[in-house]
C-alpha cells in the first residue's frame, strides 16, 4: 500500500514541478495546489497506512487505532495552504488587472535601474 502511495505522490510532485516551471501564472497556481496535495498525502503515508480503526474513542476498536497525529498535522497544513492559495489567486487577479497579462514573464524588471 505504501509503495502505491509513494508512486502516486511521486507523480504528483512531478506534475507540480512541471506546472510550476510553466509560463502561465494560473498553471503555476495549479502546480502549487497539486504540490500541497502531494505533501499532505506524503505525511499521511509516512505516518503509516495500517489497517486500524478510525481514531475515535467511542468506537471500540477490535485491535488498534490509526495514528491520529499525521491527520492533525495534515488538517493544519490543509488550512494553511488553503489560505495561501486564496491569497495567491487574488494576487494573480490583481496582477492580471495591473500588468494586463497573466504570463509570468511580465513580472520581469524590478532590479535597480543602473548598469
Amino acid at each position: 500500500m505504501e509503495l502505491l502511495m509513494a508512486i502516486l505522490i511521486g507523480l504528483m510532485f512531478a506534475a507540480a514541478t512541471y506546472l510550476i516551471l510553466s509560463k502561465s501564472l494560473l498553471r503555476i497556481i495549479i502546480g502549487t495546489a497539486i504540490l500541497s496535495h502531494g505533501v499532505n498525502l506524503f505525511v499521511l503515508t509516512m505516518g503509516g497506512v495500517k489497517r486500524g480503526d478510525v481514531p475515535i474513542l467511542g468506537l471500540k476498536a477490535t485491535s488498534a487505532y490509526n495514528d491520529p497525529l499525521p491527520q492533525a498535522l495534515i488538517l493544519t497544513a490543509i488550512v494553511i495552504s488553503f489560505g495561501v492559495t486564496a491569497f495567491f489567486l487574488v494576487l494573480a487577479y490583481r496582477a492580471y488587472q495591473e500588468l494586463d497579462s497573466e504570463s509570468i514573464s511580465k513580472t520581469r524588471g524590478h532590479e535597480a535601474d543602473d548598469e
Binding site: 500541497s36 505533501v39 505516518g47 532590479e111 535597480a112
Partner: protein, 495 residues
Amino acid sequence: MMNNLVLFPILVPFLGAILLMLLPKKIILQRTAALIAGLALIAVSLFLVFHVKQNGITTVNIGNWDAPFGITIVGDMLSSLLVFTTSIVLVCVIIYSFYTIGKPREKFLYYPAVLLMIVGVNGSFLTGDIFNLFVFFEVMLMASYVLLVIGGTKIQLKATIKYLLINVIGSGFFVVAIGVLYSMIGTLNMADISQKINALHGTNTGMLSVAAVLFLFVFGLKAGLFPLYFWLPGSYFAPPIPVLALFGGLLTKVGVYAIIRTFSLFFTKETTFMMPLLGILALITIIFGIIGAISYYDLKTIVIYNILIAIGVILFSVSILSRESVTGAVYYLIHDMIIKAALFLIIGVVMAITGSSSVKKFSGLMTVKPTLGWAFFIAIMGISGIPPLSGFFGKLLIVEGAFSAHEMIGGILVLLSSLFVLMSLIKVFTRGFWGEKSGHLTLTIPYRKMMLPVIILLTLSVLYGVFSNAVYPFIADAVEPIIDPNVYIDAVMKE
C-alpha cells in the same frame, strides 16, 4: 505562573494585532496602540532575558501535557536575546513608519500585519516543537506577503508573486521534511527528536541524512543560502523602507536561527557530512554576496547583498560548531539584526531627500545633512567591524574559531568579506555624501523625526560594541545549549 512569562512575547503582539484590526480607520489609535504593544514587548522580553539568566532555560508545556506529548514553548538564552532584539527593531520601525509609510497604507491594516509578523518571528524563536515551528513560519510568511504587497504598486505585485511562489514551495518541502523525520523518529518535540536520534546510534541512519538535506533546503531558502538566495534581491527591492527594514533585520535571521537550532539538536552526530556542506555553502554565499554588493551603484541593492554576506558569515561559523565560533556567530547575529535595520532606515532618509537610491543621481549630501552623513559613516564602520563598534567582536571570534579549527580558507574569506563590505558601502559614502551638492534635494521631509529611530538603533549598536564584555555572560549562556544539546534536552524533558 512565572513560566508563562515565556508566552508573553507571542501573546502581546498577537493581542495587539487583534485589537488593532477592529478599528482600521482610526490612524492615531492605530499608531499609539502599535507603539504601546511594541514597548510592552520590549519590557516583557527584557524581563524574560533576566529571568532566563537567573533561572536557566524556562519551558512551559501548553495545557499541562507532559513534554513530548504536548507543545512545549522553550525560552533559552538564545531565543530570549533574539526576541529582545526583535522587539527593539520593531519599536524603531513602528516609530519610523509614523512619518514615512503614508495614510492609505496605515488605514489598510499595516500595523496589525507588522504585529502579526512579529508573532510569527517570536513564535519561531521560542517554540520547541518542529511542526509548531512550521506553523509560526507560516504566520510570519503570511504577514510578510501582506506587508510586501500592501499599497499594490506594480513593482510590489511583481515581487510578491515571486516571493509567494518561492515560499509556498519552501513550506511544502518543510512539511515533507517533517514527514520524513516523523516516519523515522515518531515524535515532533525537538528535544525528544534529539534524544531519539542519539538512541539510533549505530543503526541505519541514511534517511536521517535525507531529512537533514531537506531541512537545509527549506531553511536555506528562508535564510538566503547560496543556491537558494535568487529570490531575495528582487523581492527585497520592492517593499517600502520600514517593511524592508523589518524583512532585512528579521526574516532571514529566523531561517538562520532555525538552522542553528535544528542542526545543533538533530544532525550533528549521525550525519558527518552535514556541517562541512553547510560551511561550504555559506562560504559560496559570502562570495556571491560580495560580487553583488560591489557591482551595484544602488544603495538598497548594495545593502540587500550585504545581508547575504552576513548570512554566509554567521552560518559558516555555526558550521564549525566550536564554542568560540558559535559565540562569535551569536554576537554577530544580534549585531547584524540591529545594524541592518539601522542601515535600511538611513537609506529611507536618503531616498526621502534625494528621491532616488542610486548614488549616480546625487552627491554632496554631507553639506546638507551632516548628521545623516555621520550616522551612515558610523553604520558602515559598525557593519564592517572596525574595533570599538559592534561588528568587531563577533567577527574576531569567528575568525579565531575558524583558524583554531584549521579552516584557513574560511577564516581568510571572512576577513576579506569585511574589506569588501567596507568597500561597497564606502563607495556610496564617497559618491553620495562627499563632493559638490547636486541632484534634486527635497528638504521638506520630517527629517528629525525620521532620524530618531536611526539614532536609537545606532546608539544601541555602538553600546553593544563598546560593552561587549558586559553582554558576554548572556551570550555564553546562549551558546551552551548549542554546544551541548543535553542542556536543552534536560530542560525540556525534566519530569
